[in-house]
C-alpha cells in the first residue's frame, strides 16, 4: 500500500527532454482541434504577471491573477479540453462548471504523502475528467455538489488548521484547474509562508500553467494512464499522455513535483509500466507515489477488470518494476 523511499537520484537534465507539440484530437473522431499547450497569438500573455522578477508577494500576484482568470471564464481555456465556452454567461463545457464555485470537503487529513501531512485539504466540486473509478465521483463530476466556496472564509479555516499543526494546505477536487479564479483568490488570502500544494490531474492548459506559476510550492500531479486508449476508455479524455507529460515537465521546472500513480487492477503493464518508464527516462529522481489502494468505486463496475482491488502479486510486480527502473518512490 505504502512504498518505501528509494535512493534519490540527481535532478532531471531537462534540456535533454521535451514533448512534441501536435494537434489535439477530440473524442469523437480525431478531428484536429486548436493547439492547446502553446500560447497562440490570440491568447493573452501573462508574462508581466509572472512571479519571477516582480518581487511582489505571492498574495498580491494571486489576487491580480484571480482577476485575470475570472475574466477568462468568458472564454474558458483552463484545461486541455479547450472548450472556449462563456461560463460567465451560463455556458458549460465538458466539466459542466459555470462561474459558481462549490466545495465538497475541507478537512485536515493524513492520507497523502507523508512529507505533506497533516494537510488541510480543500476539495472543489467539478472535474474535467470522467474517470469511471473516481472515488469521489458523485461530487467530482458534479460542480453543483457541496456548499458554496468563499475563498476568504476558507483561508481563515486553513489558517486555523495551520495553527493546529497542519503542515500544508492542499487544493484539490474534482480538479481545481476548473476553478482557477477561485483557487488563486484562495491563495491570495493565505499566509505567504504557508506551504501550498496543487493536487491536479495534470490535464490543464498552458494558460492555466502560466496563471499558476509561483503560486503553489508543490505540484502533486496524477499520471493515471500509460496510454491514450485506457485514458479514453476509462476517463473519456483525449490526447491524455502527451498533455500530462508536458505538464509534468513544466511542473518539475517551476515547483516541487510529486507524481502519483494509482495502480489499477489489470493495468500494471498497459498503464503503470509506460508511466514508470517515462518517468525514469524523462524525470529521473522525481518523487513518485505509487498507490495500490484502488477500490472499485463510482462506476468502476462498468469495466470488468476494475471490479476488484489490486492483487498482492500485481502490487509486488509494480513495486519491482519501479525499483528496477530506479524510481524515487515516496510514502
Amino acid at each position: 500500500m505504502i512504498c518505501t523511499v528509494q535512493e534519490r537520484r540527481p535532478p532531471a537534465r531537462r534540456e535533454e527532454v521535451g514533448v512534441q507539440s501536435r494537434d489535439v484530437r477530440d473524442c469523437s473522431g480525431g478531428t484536429p482541434k486548436r493547439e492547446l499547450q502553446r500560447a497562440g497569438p490570440d491568447q493573452p500573455s501573462l508574462g508581466s504577471f509572472g512571479a519571477a522578477g516582480t518581487g511582489a508577494p505571492r498574495s498580491v500576484l494571486a489576487r491580480e491573477r484571480a482577476r485575470i482568470a475570472r475574466a477568462m471564464l468568458a472564454d474558458c481555456r483552463f484545461c486541455a479540453h479547450d472548450c472556449r465556452v462563456n461560463r460567465l454567461a451560463g455556458e458549460n463545457g465538458l466539466c459542466h462548471a459555470g462561474s459558481e464555485v462549490r466545495f465538497f470537503s475541507a478537512q485536515t487529513e493524513v492520507s497523502d504523502e507523508l512529507e505533506l501531512t497533516p494537510a488541510f485539504n480543500v476539495a472543489l466540486s467539478g472535474c474535467d475528467l470522467r474517470c469511471d473509478f473516481c472515488i469521489t465521483g458523485a461530487s467530482s463530476w458534479n460542480p453543483r455538489a457541496g456548499a458554496g466556496f468563499d475563498a476568504r472564509a476558507m483561508a481563515k479555516q486553513a489558517k486555523v488548521a495551520l495553527e493546529g499543526g497542519a503542515r500544508t494546505i492542499q487544493l484539490l477536487g474534482g480538479e481545481p484547474t476548473v476553478h482557477l479564479p477561485a483557487a488563486l483568490e484562495f491563495v491570495s488570502w493565505l499566509p505567504e509562508t504557508a506551504r501550498l500544494v496543487w493536487k491536479t490531474n495534470a490535464y490543464g492548459s498552458a494558460t492555466a500553467r502560466e496563471l499558476l506559476d509561483g503560486m503553489f510550492d508543490v505540484w502533486l500531479a496524477d499520471f493515471k494512464f500509460g496510454n491514450d486508449a485506457c485514458a479514453q476508455r476509462l476517463a473519456k479524455v483525449p490526447d491524455y499522455v502527451r498533455i500530462v507529460q508536458e505538464n509534468l515537465l513544466w511542473a518539475a521546472e517551476h515547483s516541487e513535483l510529486i507524481v502519483r500513480h494509482l495502480l489499477m487492477p489489470g493495468h500494471v503493464e498497459c498503464c503503470w509500466q509506460p508511466v514508470a518508464e517515462w518517468l525514469a527516462e524523462n524525470l529521473p529522481g522525481v518523487k513518485v507515489n505509487l498507490r495500490s489502494g484502488f477500490w472499485p468505486a463510482w462506476q468502476a463496475a462498468r469495466h470488468p477488470e476494475l471490479r476488484r482491488t489490486v492483487s498482492g502479486p500485481e502490487s509486488a510486480r509494480a513495486v519491482d518494476l519501479a525499483q528496477s527502473l530506479g524510481l524515487n518512490l515516496v510514502p
Binding site: F103, S105, S111, T117, G293, T309
Partner: protein, 64 residues
C-alpha cells in the same frame, strides 16, 4: 467488501469530518480521506500496522 463512512452518508463540507473505509474479506482495510482522529482510532485497533502508525499525529489540535 463492505464500505463504511465514519460519519455522514455523503461527503460533507460541514463540520463533521469524513473518512471512508473499505474492509476487504481478508481483513485488509483501505482508507480514503484519513483524518488524524480516524488514524488514531485505527492505530489503537492495530498498533502494529506501520502504514497507519506512520500517519498518526500526536501534535494536532484536537478540534482538527
Amino acid at each position: 467488501m463492505k464500505k463504511h463512512r465514519s460519519k455522514n452518508d455523503c461527503a460533507s463540507p460541514g463540520k463533521d469530518q469524513v473518512s471512508e473505509l473499505l474492509i476487504l474479506p481478508d481483513g485488509q482495510i483501505l482508507v480514503h480521506n484519513l483524518t488524524p482522529a480516524f488514524a488514531g482510532l485505527l492505530h489503537e485497533l492495530n498498533p502494529d500496522d506501520e502504514h497507519i502508525s506512520s500517519r498518526v499525529t500526536r501534535h494536532m489540535s484536537p478540534h482538527l
